[in-house]
């Protein structure tokens, strides 16, 4: 920050305000930035449980380190201005008219543009590197982890609970999510009715669940622990109560858990009653019901009969 030329040729005893502001701002900015990076950064959300969460934590730290000097500069300048340039009692004169200063304006515009464009490049890189950074990428994700094998978990949002299906375990469905550490997980998020959003906070994953759409997100757990899953898109009455928990466990534990559920659901006869695993579901078409579907037609039913059954699906 350079000192602007005095445009009115004021008295030489005028203190160099710009330099003063700079000298107050610089040490403050450096100290706070150091505190942010070394003390606060390790505790930043969303934590380090997955590669994606670590990436997000790094992003937030970088942005904080950049925004602290900006905030401090404006605050220091304002405080300085309000103290030093307040009107003294009895002074009814106008101040020196300064209409503009091309150098200052150009410096400002360039600096802000550089910061902003730098953040854009940084953000884009950070989006690609941790395989999409945990965000939902839609049905055709372009930033995927480069592995041969990943664990596929389908997250089904419905009013008002999340359930999870594991196609690699026979299509079992559970209400509680467990994941193995160290393995890339692909979340296929979809909904059966309205828009929900799968937010696994500690995993750094957030993907909206839209009906009829498969929204893909990736995460690779790196720490054992618990995580919470909350619905993040207002979905009706119990949106606020739509949460469950999950755990990241060792691969051995995970296999035991998943196979245990598969056994239990097979024995209870639930597994065969579930629809075939698919990336999206249309609950109005229940093929397994066949002829029985006609019998159970009535005013209620999973389509709700909002639309008359006689309406054509396509015009």
């Amino acid at each position: 920050m350079t000192t602007p030329e005095a445009t009115t040729g004021a008295a030489a005893a005028e203190p160099r305000h710009g330099l003063r502001i700079f000298l107050i701002w610089l040490p403050l900015a450096i100290i706070v930035d150091l505190i942010v990076w070394f003390v606060w950064y390790p505790h930043f959300p969303p934590g380090r449980m997955t590669d994606q969460a670590q990436g997000q934590q790094f992003d937030i730290a970088v942005m904080t380190v950049l925004s602290v000097p900006v905030l401090l500069f404006i605050w220091v300048y304002f405080a300085y201005a309000l103290i030093v340039w307040r009107r003294r009692p009895g002074d009814e004169e106008d101040a020196t008219p300064i209409h503009g200063n091309t150098r200052i304006q150009a410096t400002w515009i360039t600096t802000t543009a550089v910061i902003v464009l730098g953040l854009f490049v940084f953000g884009t890189v950070q989006l690609i590197v941790p395989a999409g950074a945990g965000a939902g990428e839609g049905p055709s994700p372009i930033w995927k982890p480069h592995v041969n094998q990943l664990l596929k978990v389908q997250v089904i949002g419905q009013q008002w609970a999340f359930t999870y299906r594991f196609p690699q375990f026979g299509g079992i469905e559970t209400t509680h999510l467990e994941l193995p550490i160290g393995e890339e997980v692909q979340f296929n998020v979809t909904s059966l009715d309205v828009i929900h959003s799968f937010w696994a906070y500690q995993l750094g994953v957030k993907a909206d669940a839209n009906p009829g759409v498969n929204n893909v997100a990736f995460a690779k757990p790196q720490q054992i622990g618990d995580f919470t899953v909350r619905c993040n898109e207002l979905c009706g009455l119990w949106h606020g109560a739509m949460f469950n928990t999950g755990k990241v466990v060792s691969p051995v534990s995970f296999m035991a858990w998943a196979n245990g559920i598969r056994d239990r659901e097979t024995r209870a006869g639930v597994l065969i009653t579930l629809p075939a695993y698919s990336l999206t579901y249309d609950p109005t078409q229940i093929t397994s019901l066949g002829n029985t579907l006609k019998k159970v037609l009535g005013i209620t039913g999973s389509p709700g009969y909002y639309y008359s059954p006689a309406n054509p699906v396509q015009p």
């Binding site: 959300p45 404006i74 101040a95 854009f120 759409v213 008359s308």
Partner: protein, 659 residues
């Protein structure tokens, strides 16, 4: 169009003294005003309700169209009732009277006839833009405080994550009412009271281009307000102000109140914006070059373009929502070929310019206040104007940042990250202008200046957190959480509402002719500033800690921060009460006459006497210099209010000279 110079025949009745005697105006209760509007509204509602019932198929259990009947049985009477109720309200107010006169070939009454004193004109369809401005001022204060009451209910519910004082559906109703009331109404909170009142004054015009559209724009706001609040009687709507489908299609009839109210307010916004654009282009006084326009005028001008171009998209989306709800179309429902994404995109294509409709007027007001209390010209005026245009233009290209995690095409996200980051450059220009104006100034800490400084402080935090949200990886955690809540409350309430109050303290001496108490004003500022920050700063941390929006249950360890925010919110409400006390006390009881230029400002609106004469200026002024030439030696006054005869005519004869 014949403009008579005597009151029209149907405005008066014969005085009994013969045909040459001027008529007396009819008694107040016989002239169209709010009371006739109410009667019209009731009649219209009853008619519409009956018509909706007649159009809805009967439902008898077991009938062949039982399903269809169930689905739309309740929506049509309500929607048609509201539509005809609004038409009846407007008809009762006399909005269509001039249209009727034109169609019947009768002469129109003179819109510049002798003013009437008293308060009655504020309850009528009055065509004087100053009356409309004051109507807006009182209306906006009422709407703001109603929205604030709903906010108090929200914060009360959030005091405890597991013990609830209201049911979950009541909570969602309250959330929806608060958010829609604020987002809907506050779009006009500066443009209405100050834009309408001061637009002609600041450019040296005697009137607005379309006075009837302007008054109509105001009189659409009471039905919007009443319809929205009536949602409470129907159980409210569960979608919040964003109205996401298919939940909105699934909802009970309270959802229709949202669509109707927002649609009416949208029409009001379109009319107001259109009026301002035409007025600013065509009604500037001679000498009022574009480079001499006050910053407030520029902000109103850019905002009006945003309104005129973006709000029709909202109205179209709401219309589609009503069609889906009342007539079983499938715009937004996947089962029959619609898409839940369609609503999201249509809504946010409007929704993002909408938030700049909210932010830009705030920039304009504080840029207007700052030079007056710094006694310096505005620094880098052209950069400031470029900033406003930059924000307005870029606001069209960023809307997908609300949809980063929703499953949109992933290629699009870096593009929208870029455009959203870019928008901070023109926003930064506003700060460049502020910092430069403060440099070597002589700062006077009057109440309007305090609010302007508060606005800059708050908007900085809001703007910087916006950059956090624009970064897609970080947005994965922040989207839809209380971080976003903190961000937009800082920009909208911390920015716009602080500017609104600054504008009130600055301009009410001119508008209402009374001074507001300075001590109470300063107490209001400090309590509002401290408790505003205390309420919303914790929200960033709550969001980062994993609390989503619009939830009535949250993790137990987040309770202390929530309690802190709730108590601060109650104290923030107390600061609003202080404002109300100041406002009512000063305008109703103390009534200390304000000087016509209490701040010693150069602006054209301060050169007219208080109270402002009905025609604003006796003669069209000739503008001689810009409004910010403080401290410039031998600067001419801003305008010559009594130009020599022939100057104005010459100016108009040399067409195209003063662009």
């Amino acid at each position: 169009m014949a403009i008579e110079t005597t009151p029209g025949a149907d405005q008066t009745q014969p005085a009994g003294g013969g045909p040459t005697e001027p008529g007396r105006p009819r008694p107040w209760w016989m002239r169209p005003a709010v009371h006739t509007g109410l009667i019209g509204a009731v009649i219209g509602y009853l008619f519409g309700h009956w018509m909706g019932n007649a159009l809805s198929p009967d439902f008898s259990p077991g009938g062949s169209n039982y399903a269809a009947a169930l689905a739309n049985n309740f929506d049509m009477p309500l929607v048609l009732g509201y539509v005809f109720g609004t038409v009846g309200w407007l008809a009762g107010l006399g909005v269509f009277n001039d249209l009727g006169r034109l169609m019947l070939g009768k002469p129109l009454p003179d819109i510049e006839h002798a003013p009437e004193g008293g308060l009655a004109k504020y309850f009528r369809y009055t065509l004087d833009h100053k009356v409309v401005g004051i109507q807006y001022l009182f209306g906006m204060i009422v709407y703001f405080l109603t929205g604030g009451l709903f906010a108090m209910a929200i914060r009360t519910e959030l005091l405890n994550p597991t013990n609830h004082i209201m049911s979950s559906s009541s909570y969602l109703m309250v959330v929806g009412e608060h958010s829609t009331m604020m987002m809907m109404m506050m779009s006009s909170v500066v443009l209405g009271p100050f834009g309408q009142y001061f637009a002609p004054l600041m450019i040296g015009s005697k009137r607005m281009a379309f006075p009837r559209l302007e008054a109509l724009g105001f009189w659409l706001t009471p039905p919007a307000y009443v319809i929205l609040v009536s949602g409470v009687l129907l159980g409210g709507f569960p979608t919040g102000w964003t109205g996401y489908a298919p939940l909105s299609i699934q909802s009970t009839p309270g959802m229709d109140t949202y669509a109707m109210a927002f649609g009416l307010m949208g029409i009001s916004m379109i009319l107001a914006g259109f009026n301002i654009i035409v007025t600013y282009i065509n009604y500037r006084a001679p000498g009022m070059r574009w480079s001499r326009l006050p910053m407030f005028v520029w902000s109103m001008f850019t905002v009006s373009f945003l309104q005129v171009l973006s709000v029709p998209v909202l109205v179209a989306g709401l219309y589609m929502m009503l069609m889906d709800r009342a007539w079983q179309t499938a715009f937004f429902v996947n089962q029959l070929g619609g898409s839940s994404y369609l609503w999201q995109n249509v809504f946010w294509f409007f929704g993002h310019p909408e938030v700049y409709i909210l932010a830009l007027p705030g920039f304009g007001v504080v840029a207007e206040i700052l030079p007056v209390f710094c006694r310096k010209p505005l620094f880098a005026y052209k950069v400031g104007v470029a900033g406003m245009f930059g924000v307005a233009l870029l606001s069209w290209f960023v809307w997908q940042h609300h949809l980063f995690v929703s499953g949109i095409n992933p290629d699009m996200r870096p593009l929208y990250m870029l455009t959203t980051e870019l928008i901070s450059i023109p926003t930064g220009f506003i700060y460049l202008v502020a910092l430069g104006t403060l440099w070597k100034a002589k700062i006077k800490f009057e109440v309007p200046m305090l609010f302007a400084l508060g606005m800059y402080f708050n908007f900085l935090i809001g703007g910087v957190t916006g950059v956090y949200l624009s970064d897609v990886p970080a947005d994965t955690t922040e989207h839809g959480s209380f971080f976003v809540m903190g961000h937009f409350h800082y920009t909208i309430m911390g920015g716009l509402i602080f500017a609104f109050f600054g504008g009130i303290y600055y301009w009410v001496p001119k508008m209402l002719g009374v001074e507001l108490n300075k001590t109470l004003g300063k107490i209001h500022f400090w309590t509002m500033f401290i408790f505003f920050n205390s309420t919303f700063l914790p929200m960033f941390f709550l969001g980062m800690a994993g609390m989503p929006r619009r939830v009535f249950e949250y993790a137990k360890n987040l309770q202390p921060l929530n309690v802190w925010a709730s108590i601060s919110a109650y104290l923030l409400a107390v600061s609003m009460i202080i404002f109300l006390v100041n406002f009512i006390w000063s305008t109703l009881f103390v009534r200390k006459r304000a000087a016509s230029n209490p701040w010693n400002a150069r602006g054209l609106e301060w050169q007219v006497p208080t109270p402002v004469p009905p025609e604003n200026f006796e003669h069209i002024p000739v503008v001689l210099s810009g409004p910010y030439e403080y401290g410039v030696k031998d600067a001419p006054p801003m305008a010559d209010l009594n130009p020599p005869v022939g100057v104005v005519a010459a100016a108009y004869a040399g067409a195209g000279v003063e662009a």
